[in-house]
Structures are given as structure tokens and as C-alpha cells.
Assembly symmetry: C2
Homo-oligomer: 672 residues x 2
């Protein structure tokens, strides 16, 4: 038996455990009729979104697959791998979202019996998503690899996964903010009704948004990064052992083996996480992450020792892992509610919204420094460590990315927990459960935010290392000697490349604005035209489905231009300027993509917590002028952190994969 | 006679014309006692700022010069050149500001007799600054070059000029926003007294700010870019002709010759600009700029033809010039009051401040695309054009920067016109001149904004090409083969480099916040403690000097950390990571420096004009909720466009020059 088959076996194990947890969640009590009704409406809305998204995606995938099949040297097989990649990612997303929509209402119901009853339901719901993502990803890679023995075809699979990620992450991001803004602006501000009030026509769309944006979108995003990191290292491994088939090439198989061990570590990590009756769920989640890291390091150490792998490779994986944790912790500092940046920004709100925004923006700018330094040092460290052990340095950088992403199962589990408990809280409030139950739901929700800070930093760091690994893979795959900034075409490519992520962010944010406008009009119309709605008359219900429909259609429509641009401009730069220009372009887009991803995620989180700090009673508390100023900052931060920022990872990965997939054609046909 | 001596001759001519215009402005009538009193207070405040700034600068310059003298191979002479560079720049700034402070009150007074009387005074005031900048810059370069015959020593001169620029631009930027925020927040918002009201203790500081930030700061900034572009090309020229002295090397002398011709074109351009009684001063300024470009192209064509220079060099200079104009025009589109971005952003204000900010920010992100593409295409175009004519490509890129900056005399003249007429308007209002006079002052002021959009884009484009030329010069001077992004140290350097401009911007903006806080406290104190001040009792005057003093001290204090960081981190990266890491670092900082300079300048200008669009009556007009929202956006934009954004050019130039100056030491002593 080949050693690399540990990958599909671990992936299957992951899917089996996910199925078991799915059944566990499903058999829990889903509460009162009212609760089931609300949960049902959310589920319906989410399914409506997914259905339409999958339809659009199917058309998109069919078009791209056809183009691949016609133009690429090994076209038909690439096209099939591409379709397969998008299906695997969609499947993981669909399962994860389905269980999230079951876990929310069930954990709300279990909260009646205490924190320690509700927590496992929410967490295991998240774990289904986490284990499905890594399971389907690694199983898919393994199948493609087994059938073709060709890492290049796995690249097609990865490209397919990235298409799904773009739709799920950017489309979901536009959706969730559209609904949020629509619900808040008309409901809370104009009509003066509380948040999550069932009279608000956009309330279900808002709840749906948490699921399609945060659960399905985030899952697809990490699916994408995970697959990309593995395939990048496989490609980097090809030339390291010549004269053997891929299956005999240890360097091609190692990322699969490490990823498989990472899945086992994640399964153990998921099994370990638990919390007592008076326990702190946030701590439990973070400890789960740290323990998973330790287990991964231990497992890979043992395997490396007994199978006599090169210890340099183990070292690079650990470098990646440690860098991920450090980046997560520094991110935490810049966004945490009880640290200087958030407190200073809250303080600045006393002199008005503008000063609040400048303060948050400034700290967001500063917050880039540690993670960029971290990614830089980690990549150089991995490079030189690998070289010291006699391995090609760039391969080491790739393995650092794989090491960082190996525990993605656990990371996604913690991350998906967040929107589940957020929804839980919403359901508890909307269905009028008792005060103590809502308090428990609140505690669970707060824990989600604590965990999120670390996992979010982790995700950005991992994406950074992954796109660097992809860039190395692109260089090797395209046969370029390097990308020297002092070459004019590379430089020009880089200057165009750095302009792309800002352009993409802007189009997505303006898309939210346009779509929110449509939503606001609809919500106003319903309040105006449905008699008794505002007064909450018995039996009068708003038309939830209409709002869901507007958010859905608009989100997918606004997604078209930025998506098409990110693919088309990449191809134009490649076919006009050649491989050198394209390498510079990818490098530039990685740089500015990282910058804006970090800025938007951290400033957004900071504004949110500065507002919460004031709401907790500081600087005048809720309702004061400071609070109003902080709310404006938070509203600016919303599309930053939930729409534009998180889509950038995906965008850069898509661009890198487009470049790699078309590299053979560009080498042959470029103008310059 | 050597051909290059056209440079010092043109520079002398420029200084002579500047002196003539100075006398012209000075002999105009300075108006009523009241006007003279206000102008006197502004002058006093500005001088107080400059005096203290020069003191700090002197210490800073002495320390750095000593370090250079001790450590560098040709230390003492570099130290002297460094000091000389800072003195020349300071001198140009001092003269420019002195005349601006005379021109403001005199053009306000002349406005009584009509637009066509007031315009030339203001414009010629600006022209003194413009011609002083290019005159002293090119004369200084020529003297250093004449005495040493060594372009490396000219690098020391350039480094000195950049030290002055950092103090004047970033320090002046912090000063001007401190005073502005202080004056507005307490005066307009809390005390409800109009803008520019003499009762406001911060009003003089505010008027001073326009001069120290916009006149002196901008002049020093362009002095810096101008010198840097010339010295970069001189350095790039050294290896192109071996076995001859510098004076015989045409490639070293050409940038001097072209710069000299640019000065002559600027003098002609300044002489041409005039406006009729009913004329449009904005148009006159823009036509002046275009005509200067044409004259420059013509002059250099003739010289190239008759002296049988290589036409490739002429071509690259024209490429730079054309790119500058195109970048200026696209910048204009994104910030202009009557274009889609400003109108849409004004429209967005109807749904609140947050939506206004997101809209402006998004258009700011999009606005980077054309200039970055322009800089990229111009640099590649210049490179290949030069190669086609048998000249080293990088030399062509440098000459494009020189071409773009050759007309800086005219650009600065138009730019300095802005704050002069802005002050004019303030003086007219504060001294209670008639309505028609204020209207004329208003018209002159609006023209300043029209001209500014084009010149600002031009300045950023020129800075972009200049730092690229500096990067090429650094590569050649340090003996590096190239900066390949696929080298781990280059990549790590780049990742750290991209984090520097955001860090610098953030520290400067937070500095404004801290300093404004001190100012606000002081203004409140004066209103509280000086009896009769708020009521405007006869003979009661606020303590203007105290406010000027707070703004001054604070600005210089807040400047220390970012300035020191930008020098120290550069040296640390160089001495730890070596030349490769340093090259990547410079490349990265150029990329993110350009991004944030463009974003901040354009988003800031856009928010400003969106507000003005509403004030002109749209979407509810002045005082409406839309207007309040737009004011918040404008306030966010203020430190963007007046403090952080414009300082970035200078910061990148300083970092590039530090790297080049210390390159010989780094080559010898770097750790890696």
C-alpha cells in the first residue's frame, strides 16, 4: 500500500465522524412550534439562496470547463477535474450549512437545560462543517490523483474549488450585508422596532445571511485555500525527484500525508473540546485549537521519525503552524474589546464619528505589521530550514503553508460555531424564551467572537502562505527563472496587480450599497402596504421570501463584474505581457490583497468592539453621542470585515490558479 | 563651456525671475489696518512655526550628518552635502512662504478692483515658490556636482533635501490638521461661531496651517522629488560611459540639461498665464500647465536635434510628461465635483454617514487603477523605447521621471496659488470686506481647487516614477543583480516593506488626533477663562500665539516616532537581511506607498467635493441630514488628504535615499 493513501483514509474517517455528529445534532429536540417555525423560515431562505447560487455556479462552471476543455493541452480531463472540484466544495458547504441550520434551533432549545447541554450541540454542528470541508477536499484530491497520477490535473480540481469559493464567499458576503443593512436601517432606525423582531420583513434574510456568508462562505474559502496549498506543494515536489512516477515521488506525496495527519489531529481535537456547567466556552474553543496543533506536531514527528522522512520537512510544517498561532494572537490584540486599540477608539468616539473612524482605521493600518512580518519571517525561515536539511527552499515554504492549514478542520469547526450560536440567540429572542436562557445563548455567542479573532488571523496567515506557495508553483510550472522587480514587464505587472484587490473590494462594497438600496425600498414598501404589520397585529406576517429573493438575486448580480474582471484581467496581463508580467502581477496582487484583507478584517473587528465597549457602559454608554458615533464606525466596518475583506483571499487564490492553469498556453502564445 | 552648465544658468535665471516677482508682489498695496493686522498675525504664527521647525531640523540634520561623516567611506564630504541639501530646501521653502504671506493680503485688497487685478498677485506669489524650488534645487545640485564631479555626493545633497521635506511635509501636515480640527470643533460646533471668526483662538493657527502645510510643505516635497529624480538618473548614467570623467559622460549630464530646459519652459509658462476681467482663472492655470509641457517638449526637441543627442532620450522624457498629464486628468475625474463619483457619494449621504464613507472609500479604491496602470505603462514604455534606441532601459525610466518633473516650477506655482487665495478669502472675510469682493475671492479660491486636482495627480505620478528610478539607481549602485521576488529574502523584505507606509500613515494620523485633543482643550480654556471673548466684546482678544505654539510643538513631537522608524527600520532590514532584502523592502514600500497615497488623496478630495455638492443645494442642501453625513465624511478625509497621504511620497523617498546612501556599508557589513 502506498503511504499517501493515508490521505483518503483520513478523509473518509473525517466524513464518517462528520456523519456521526450530524446524526447526533439531528436527534436533539428542536423545541417549541414557534422555534421550529422560525428555524424553518431561515432554512427555507438559506436553501433558496443556495439553490439560486448553485444554478448560477453551474452555468459559470460549465462555461469555464468548456473553455478549459477546448484550449488547454490536456483540456477534457482538466475540465472534468474542474467540475469535480466545484462539486466537492459545494457538497461540503451544503452539508455544513444544513447541519448549522439544525444546530442553531437545537442548541437554543438545549440552553434551557444549561450551558453544558447547549454548547456541544453548537460546537458539533460546527465540527460537521469543519470535518466535511477537510474530508471532501482531501478525498477529492486523492481521487483525482489516484486516477491520473498527475498533480497538474489536481490543479484543475483546485481551480474548480476556487470558483465555488468566489461565489460562496463574495456572493454570500454581499448577501449578508445587504440583508443586515436593510433590516437595520428600516427596522431599527426608521420604524424603531428591536433587532431580530419578527415584524421586520428582512429579519429572516438577515438570519439567512449569517449562514450563507459565515458558514457556507467561510467553509468554501478554507476549502479553497486548503486544496490550493496541497496542490501547490505537490507541483513543487514534481521536479525534486526525477525519473520516477508521481506515486513513487515522496515529495509529491508528503503534503498528502501531512494533510491526512492533520485531519486525524482535527478529529481528536474536536473530540476533546468540552465545557463544564460553569465553564468558559471561549477558552474551551481556543484550547481545542492549541491542543490540535500539539497533536498534529506530535503525530507528524512520530511519522517522520519512524518512516525516516527528512526532519527539515517536519520543521517547516511546524514553522507554519507556529506562525499561524502567533498571527492569530496578535490579531486578537488589535481587535479585542479590552485592549488599547478598541478602548482608544471608543474614547475617540467622544469627539464624533469622524475621529472614531480615523482612530479605528489607523489601528487597522498598524495591525498589518505583525502578521506581515510573521508571514515574511515564516516564509524565509521555512525556506532556509529546508535548505539546511538539503531540500529545495521553495518546497519548504509550501510545506509551511500545508502545516498551517493542516488543522483547518478544527479551525472551521470553531469558526462555524460562531454563526450557529448567533442564530441560536436570535431564535431564542424571537421565540420569547426566558431571560436566563437568553443569557446562556448570549454567553455562547460571546465565546464565538473570542474564538473568531484567533481563527480569523489564522485564516489570513494561511491564505498568505498559500498564495506564496502558489506563486512559487506558478514560477516552477511556467518555467520562469524568477520574477525580478527590476525587469520592466515584471514591474509593470506588479503595478497593475496591486491595483486589482482594491478594485475588487470597491466593486463588492458598491454592490452591497446598490443591493441594500433595493432591499430598503422593499422593506419600506411592506411596512407601508401590509396593514397591521408595524403594529404587530395577530396573524399579520411580512413577506419574508420576497426579501430573501431580492438579497439573493442582487448579490449574485453584483458579483458578476468583479469576478469576471479578476479572471479576465489576469488573462489579459498574461497573454499581453507574458509570464514575467503575470508573475509580477500575481506578486503585486498578493501584496495589496494581504494589506486590504488585514486592514479590513481588523479595522472592522475593532470598530465593532469599540461600539460594544461603549455599550458596556463606558464614555456615556448606550444611547449617548459617543455611542451614535461608534455605531457609524461599526456600520462602516461591516462591509469591510464581512464582505470585502474576506473575499480577497479567495480572489487572490482564483487569480493565482487562473494563471497556473493557463500558464502552458501563455508560454506559447503571449505577445511579449 | 560644458553643456551641462545650462543647468546652473537656468537655475540662476529662475531665482532672478523669482526675485523680480517677489518685488512685484511686495510693492502692491496691503490694504486696510485691519487687513494688515490679520495678515501680520498669520505671518507671525507661520514664522514661529518655521523657526521652531528649523531648530528641530538643525539638530536632526547635525546628528545625521555626523553619522554620515563617521561611518561612510567618503563621510565628511557626504555630511557637508547633506547639510547643504537641507539648507537649500529650507531656503526655497522660507522664501516661498514669505511671499505667500505677502501675496494673500495683497490679492485680497486687489480684489476690490476686480478679478484680473487680484489674480496676477496671487499667481505670481505662487510662482515665486515654484521658481525658487526649481532654482535652488538645480543650483544646489550644480554646485555640488561642479565641486566634486561625483554623482554619489549629489546623493548626499538629495538626502538632505529629503530630511527637510519630511519635517515640512509631515510636520506641516500634522500642524495644519491640528489647527483645523481645533478651530472647527470648538468654534463652529460647540460655540456656534462662523468659520474664520476672529474670536476663535485657533483661527490664526488655522490660517498659518494652510501656509506651513500646503505652501512650505508641498514645496519641500517637490524639491525633494525633483532632486531625487535628477540624481537617480545621474547615478544610472555613470556606468553607461566608462573610462571618462563624469563631466565628459553625456549620460550623467543629460538629466541636468533637461532639467535646465524644464526651468526655462516653466519661466515662459509663468509669464504666459493671465486672465481677463471676466476670465476663468482655473482654466488659465490649467492652460499654463499644458503650454509649459508643449514648450518643454519643443525646447528639448530642438536641443536634441541640434546637439545630436539620442532621440530615444527625448522620447522617454515626453513619455513621462504625457503620463503625468493623463494621470492628472484621471485623478480629476475621481475627485471633481460634477462627476459620477462625487455625485454618487453625495447621494449616498442620504442614507447616513457610514454609507457616504463607504462610497467615497470605494471610489478612492477604484481611482488607483488608472494612475497605477499609467505609471506601469509609462515605465515599461520608457524602458523599451530607450532600448529600441540603443540606450540602457532603466536609464530611460529615469529620464521619464525627469521629464515628468521638469515642469515642476509651473506645477508648484499653480499649487501654491491655492493656499494663497484660500488665505485671501479668509482675510477678506475676517476684515469685513464687501460682498462683491468676497465673491471674487471665492472665485479665485475655487480656481485653486480645479488646478490642484491636476497638479496633485501629477505630483503623485512623478513621485512614483522617481522612486522607481531611485530603486533602479539603488540596484545599480549596490551592485545587486536584481530583486527577484522568488528569492526568500527579497520576498520577506517586500512583506515588511509593504507594511511601512500604512504604519507611517497611522502614526501621523494618530498624532493629529492626540495633538488636536491638546488644541481643543486650550481653545475651550480660552473661551472659559477670557471674559467677553465669546460675546465679541470690544478690545477682547484671544491668545492666538498660545494656540500656534501648541500646534507647533505637538506637530514636531508627533513627527519624531514615524520619522525615526522609517529610517531605523530601513537600516535594520538592510544590515540584517542584506541588499536583496533591502531591495524587496523598497519595492514593497513603493507599492503600498503609492496605493495609500492615491487612496487617501483621492478619497479625501472626493468626500470634500461630495459635501460641497450638497452645500450647493442637492439632496437637501446645507444643514440637512445628508449634509451632516457628508461633513463627517469630509472630516475623515481631511487627515487622509492633507496629512497622511501627501507625507507618503516623502517617506518613500527618504527610505530610498537612506538605502542608497548606506548601500556601501550594507554591502560590507550585512548579516545575511
Amino acid at each position: 500500500m502506498d503511504l499517501w493513501t493515508i490521505a483518503p483514509l483520513a478523509a473518509l474517517a473525517s466524513i464518517v465522524v462528520a456523519a456521526y455528529l450530524f446524526l447526533y445534532v439531528n436527534k436533539q429536540d428542536s423545541g417549541t412550534v414557534k422555534m421550529r417555525e422560525i428555524a424553518g423560515a431561515i432554512q427555507e431562505g438559506a436553501n433558496a439562496f443556495l439553490k439560486r447560487e448553485f444554478m448560477y455556479l453551474a452555468v459559470f462552471v460549465a462555461v469555464v470547463a468548456t473553455i478549459l476543455a477546448i484550449f488547454l493541452p490536456n483540456g477534457p480531463i482538466m475540465g472534468v477535474a474542474y467540475i469535480f472540484g466545484s462539486i466537492c466544495s459545494a457538497l461540503a458547504g451544503y452539508l455544513g450549512m444544513t447541519v448549522a441550520l439544525k444546530a442553531n434551533v437545537r442548541s437554543a432549545n438545549a440552553a434551557k437545560e444549561g450551558l453544558n447541554k447547549a454548547f456541544p450541540i453548537a460546537f458539533r454542528g460546527g465540527a460537521v462543517m469543519g470535518l466535511s470541508v477537510v474530508g471532501f477536499a482531501l478525498l477529492g484530491i486523492s481521487i483525482v490523483y489516484y486516477l491520473t497520477g498527475d498533480p497538474e490535473v489536481v490543479l484543475g480540481f483546485s481551480f474548480g474549488a476556487s470558483a465555488m469559493a468566489l461565489f460562496a464567499k463574495a456572493g454570500g458576503g454581499i448577501y449578508t450585508k445587504t440583508a443586515d443593512v436593510g433590516a437595520d436601517l428600516v427596522g431599527k432606525v426608521e420604524m424603531n422596532i428591536p433587532e431580530d423582531d419578527p415584524r421586520n420583513p428582512a429579519v429572516i434574510a438577515d438570519n439567512v445571511g449569517d449562514n450563507v456568508g459565515d458558514v457556507a462562505g467561510m467553509g468554501a474559502d478554507l476549502f479553497d485555500s486548503y486544496v490550493a496549498s496541497v496542490v501547490a506543494v505537490m507541483l513543487l515536489g514534481v521536479p525534486l525527484s526525477s525519473g520516477v512516477t508521481s506515486f513513487e515521488n515522496r515529495f509529491v506525496n508528503l503534503p498528502l500525508i501531512f494533510a491526512g495527519l492533520g485531519i486525524l489531529a482535527s478529529i481528536l481535537g474536536v473530540a476533546i473540546v468540552r465545557v463544564g456547567k460553569k465553564g468558559n466556552p471561549g477558552k474551551a474553543l481556543n484550547w481545542g485549537t492549541y491542543l490540535t496543533c500539539v497533536i498534529f506536531a506530535g503525530l507528524t514527528f512520530l511519522v517522520t521519525y519512524y518512516l525516516e522522512f527528512n526532519f527539515g520537512i517536519w520543521g517547516t510544517a511546524v514553522v507554519g503552524l507556529v506562525a499561524g498561532v502567533i498571527i492569530g494572537i496578535t490579531t486578537d490584540y488589535f481587535t479585542s474589546i479590552d485592549r488599547t486599540p478598541a478602548i482608544r477608539t471608543a474614547e475617540a468616539s467622544q469627539t464624533g464619528a469622524a475621529v472614531n473612524i480615523i482612530s479605528g482605521f489607523s489601528y487597522g493600518l498598524i495591525s498589518m505589521f505583525p502578521p506581515l512580518l510573521g508571514i515574511g519571517v515564516a516564509s524565509a525561515g521555512a525556506y532556509f530550514l529546508a535548505e539546511a536539511f538539503g531540500i529545495e527552499g521553495v518546497y519548504g515554504v509550501g510545506m509551511a503553508a500545508v502545516g498551517m492549514l493542516s488543522i483547518v478542520g478544527m479551525i472551521v469547526a470553531g469558526d462555524a460555531y460562531g454563526p450557529i450560536v448567533d442564530n441560536s440567540k436570535g431564535i431564542a429572542e424571537q421565540s420569547g424564551l426566558e431571560e436566563e436562557v437568553i443569557e446562556i445563548a448570549d454567553k455562547l455567542d460571546a465565546a464565538g467572537n473570542t474564538a473568531k479573532a484567533i481563527t480569523k488571523g489564522f485564516a489570513i496567515g494561511a491564505a498568505g502562505l498559500t498564495v506564496l506557495a502558489l506563486l512559487f508553483a506558478f514560477q516552477e510550472y511556467s518555467g520562469a527563472a524568477g520574477f525580478d522587480l527590476m525587469e520592466p514587464l515584471v514591474l509593470t505587472g506588479a503595478l497593475i496587480g496591486i491595483a486589482m484587490p482594491p478594485l475588487f473590494s470597491a466593486l463588492v462594497m458598491l454592490g452591497v450599497g446598490k443591493n441594500a438600496f433595493r432591499m430598503i425600498e422593499e422593506v419600506r414598501r411592506q411596512f407601508r402596504e401590509i396593514p397591521g404589520l408595524k403594529e404587530g397585529k395577530e396573524g399579520v406576517k411580512p413577506d419574508y421570501a420576497k426579501c430573501v429573493d431580492i438579497a439573493t438575486k442582487g448579490a449574485l448580480k453584483e458579483l458578476i463584474l468583479p469576478s469576471v474582471l479578476s479572471i479576465v484581467v489576469t488573462l489579459v496581463v498574461g497573454f499581453v505581457g507574458g509570464i514575467g508580467a503575470l508573475g509580477g502581477y500575481l506578486g503585486g496582487s498578493i501584496f495589496s490583497g494581504l494589506i486590504f484583507a488585514l486592514l479590513m478584517a481588523n479595522a472592522g473587528g475593532l470598530w465593532d468592539n469599540a461600539k460594544k465597549y461603549i455599550e458596556a457602559g463606558a464614555f456615556g454608554g448606550k444611547g449617548s453621542d459617543s455611542h451614535k458615533a461608534a455605531v457609524i464606525g461599526d456600520t462602516v466596518g461591516d462591509p469591510f470585515k464581512d464582505t470585502a475583506g474576506p473575499s480577497l483571499n479567495t480572489m487572490i487564490t482564483v487569480m493565482s490558479l487562473v494563471a497556473s492553469v493557463f500558464a502552458p498556453l501563455i508560454v506559447m502564445h503571449a505577445l511579449m
